[in-house]
């Protein structure tokens, strides 16, 4: 069965009788991309699972009002990104942790996480990424891992292409510095 395009999925979703079927297809189409995007931000699988489910619940509630000013894919990524950032913010305020402490916690989680089985260099890269400020981390992950174009990233993050390029450049420099120092 060939994959439905976003436009076809939206038409299906607007048909009351096929709404659930269409939504199921949307989840299947985007679940992995969104999961990895979220997971790289929050590190733990359980947290990523919660955020992903909340993301799709928000999508279900908001899809009727989606006006197609942007692509469905861009909209989904934006919701997932916002949900991840909100989660991280909540974690910091919940435990009254300074940013650096929370990132150290995430690094420790990475080392002890049984669902992370990367080798030494992959662990080092993930730790270096965790040293980045959240926005830079998102930009780096989207460009490096998800290979999203700057123009699309600009629509998702509502940031200019120039600022995103600069952000990516800074992120790479910081990661390089981390590699040289550790």
């Amino acid at each position: 069965m060939s994959e439905y395009s976003d436009k076809e999925l939206l038409i299906l979703f607007r048909d009351t009788e096929r709404k659930n079927f269409a939504f199921n297809l949307i989840i299947k189409k985007y679940q992995q991309k969104l999961y990895w995007h979220i997971r790289k931000m929050v590190i733990k699988h359980d947290d990523a699972d919660d955020i992903l489910q909340n993301t799709f619940i928000k999508v279900w509630k908001g899809l009727d009002g989606f006006r197609e000013d942007s692509k469905l894919y861009t909209w989904l990524y934006r919701i997932a990104t916002n949900e991840s950032l909100t989660f991280l913010k909540q974690q910091k305020t919940k435990y009254l942790l300074p940013i650096a402490d929370y990132e150290n916690q995430l690094k420790e989680t990475l080392e002890s996480d049984v669902s992370f089985n990367g080798d030494e260099i992959q662990l080092k890269l993930q730790k270096a990424i965790l040293e980045l400020p959240e926005k830079q981390r998102i930009v780096f992950n989207m460009k490096y891992f998800d290979e999203i174009k700057y123009e699309e990233m600009s629509a998702i993050l509502d940031t200019s292409v120039g600022a995103l390029k600069a952000s990516y450049h800074h992120a790479v420099k910081k990661i390089e510095k981390y590699f040289n120092e550790n």
Binding site: N20, F23, N24, I27, K28, Q31, Q32, Y35, W36, R39, K40, H45, D49, L52, Q53, F56, I57, W60, S115, F116, N117, G118, D119, I121, Q122, L123, L125, Q126, Y144, F145, H169, V172, K173, I175, E176, F179
Partner: protein, 162 residues
Amino acid sequence: MSKTWEDRIIREDYIMDKFLEKLESLKETKSNPFKVPEGYFDSLPTRIQDRIATNENRQSIFSQIRLVIKPQLAFAAAFIAVALIAVTTLEYIFKDKTKLPASTGVYTRIIEVDASEFTEQHFIDVLLDENKKSIDNKKNSDCYIDFLVDENIDYTTLIDEL
């Protein structure tokens, strides 16, 4: 100076390009280090749909409860509104009664009764007394002015002293 700066930029760019190449090869040669539980993505759509259904059921239960208690709530609200209006009206009526001014006839009678207790001479004395007080006041004022003139105290000095 400018040449050194340019050289430094070119060298930094070169190092960064080399590092990016290293990162790219790392991405190509290594698999995703993060893992998910077995069958996670297969079961996810069903779990999400279940959560949505549960949320919607809960919402419909709430809306049903609201439908049932809505007339009772409306009745209670109407009762409270009527009670408030009644209390306010009664308060207004009683407040007005306590502050009800005496009629003109009553005032005339009060004046007549009280006036009967005084003789004409009483009224003349009171009026003379009032007149005397105002004359005294005037005398006092004249004394003050005379004093200021005698002491040669001008207006500015007076204000400063005050």
